[in-house]
Subunit: 327 residues, 2 copies
């Protein structure tokens, strides 16, 4: 079954996804923080995907894609190009099914990311660090071993898996007026929009995006998919462009895409670490940054926020880097 | 009611404490980590007091002491000398009851600790940074305003409050073979021993202590209270000596006091941040360090660990300080 056969995830499919992946994913907690409620003037419910296996929500989609492969396809393994959380998630999901995961990574990928993929048993193929090189190397790998490509976000099986995070949040919280979700390629945001439509239709869904990578906002406003150009944000998970499958769902279902400054991302990340005592990555912090920089949407409301991941290099924290916090 | 009237906490008292403070404290979660289980070969259950109000278990005891004051005493306020988590906890507990907390702090206390106490409405009196100065300044404050001293650990009301953490852990986990608790002044360890005696008598309780501040181990082995001399550990919460009330309980009920190296504390802290995605302070990390440096006690066992707090200066992380990690 490839992604076209799976089709747009409807309510029944998302209910089924949750059962399929239940034994593999963590049902992550939803946390609250009195002091962050006071600071923002909103009542915040944080869905902690930083506690997810592999350290990010990405494992939900990867697990779903891998679990639903027919045995014939599974035997050939899966493949992707990624230097981020999807690479780890796919390697982990594949190892849990006992199949191979071929991960194409740029040769300059951070050592910490390479060793994370290795620790999950992923088979790494290095390439030069350009998108054409990554794509051509991936095509080679697929040609050689017949592995199925699992795209990080532009795949309905992935979108359906990511949808499970918001579905769980809606079960665990009072009625939410708003939900704020980071947007990079749009897998988590489009999945969250679908779960909102089916399970909490009164909730308004906002995307949160760095100003320095504001392609989703531009695309949303101009109603056409505009790829990101030279993103220079600290939120490394959000430097990608929307996909042909994620964009239409976002265009139809998002209330707005809110952009946030680099300073606000760093401040929000630091506040989450200090006040909630949890480790989140910059991409995850964009949701609190959005609430702080756009309070008019959230004041006095019940607001859900998806903390997308917690994979950070503990030796390079942004508030210690003056070139980032003061630029 | 002063601490002598309260007396050694029996089972009935600890049950009562939990009801008294239930509306004030967080019932913190008990977390597990597959990867830390694999690393240690033990099945670990972490009681997350880093998520407690004020960022540490200290709020349990402070809340209990403040809540049980008669109105007459409460009207005069409470007082303590502390530059650590107890200062914050007492200020917060007092503000929740609407009474005054006088906190004597050394004039060289870190700004971050001073502002935390201020943020909870504590009234700070600075003094010179020696123990005699702290004690004489506290006596002055008490003389001036009639406030009741709430000692950070050598007080049965405090010990009974700290006992509630282990009592909750026992309710939330399978039968634990061992429990590991950081030991500084001994309030948390003695409280944990009492809760173990009453609620999980088959569990062996270990104290975890830095080699660089090994007074509890020395006292335990020599069966006499030996004050700490020049502690130079990164675990700033564990630089104090045992008290006359905590020591006998520890002597009678602890299985052993395990010391840990500074390197192990830093490594354990980093592992907890990386693998569990939670922020803990060095004192809290001693418990995992103890499991890693003394595996013979814990291999194949169900082991509870109390993560005592999460108050760290995010600008000064120990793994970035080569003088600490490599000395």
């Amino acid at each position: 079954m490839d992604t076209n056969h799976y089709g747009l995830p409807d309510k029944k499919k998302i209910v089924a996804v949750r059962e399929i992946i239940a034994s593999q994913v963590h049902r992550t907690p939803s946390l609250t923080s009195i002091s962050l409620n006071e600071i923002t003037g909103s009542k915040l419910y944080f869905k902690c995907e930083n506690f997810q296996k592999g350290g990010a929500f990405k494992f939900r989609g990867a697990s779903h894609a891998v679990m639903t492969l027919s045995q014939e396809y599974a035997d050939r393994g899966v493949a992707t190009h990624s230097s981020g959380n999807h690479a780890q998630a796919l390697a982990l999901a594949a190892s849990m099914r006992g199949i191979k995961a071929h991960i194409v990574m740029p040769e300059n990928a951070p050592r910490i990311k390479v060793s994370a993929v290795e620790s999950y048993g992923g088979i790494i193929r290095f390439c030069r660090p350009t998108l054409p090189d990554r794509e051509s190397t991936l095509r080679e790998v697929i040609k050689e071993c017949g592995a199925m490509e699992i795209h990080p976000y532009n795949d309905y099986r992935i979108i359906a898996g990511q949808a499970s995070a918001a579905a769980e949040l809606y079960e665990d919280t009072p009625l939410l007026d708003c939900l704020v979700v980071p947007v990079g390629g749009g897998g988590l945001l489009s999945g969250s929009i679908l779960s909102t439509r089916y399970f909490s239709p009164g909730t308004k869904v906002f995307g949160a995006e760095p100003e320095q990578a504001n392609d989703a906002r531009e695309s949303f406003q101009k109603r056409q998919l505009i790829p990101v150009r030279n993103p220079s944000t600290i939120a490394d998970g959000l430097r990608t462009s929307l996909g042909s499958l994620t964009f239409p769902i976002i265009l139809e279902g998002a209330e707005d895409i809110l952009t946030v400054s680099e300073e606000a991302i760093v401040l929000a990340m630091q506040l989450i670490w200090e006040r909630m005592k949890i480790v989140v990555e910059p991409s995850a912090a964009t949701v609190l940054a959005a609430v702080m920089e756009h309070p008019e949407n959230f004041a006095g409301k019940n607001t859900g926020l998806i903390l997308s991941g917690g994979n950070v290099d503990l030796y390079r924290l942004p508030w210690m880097d003056k070139t980032i916090t003061n630029h």
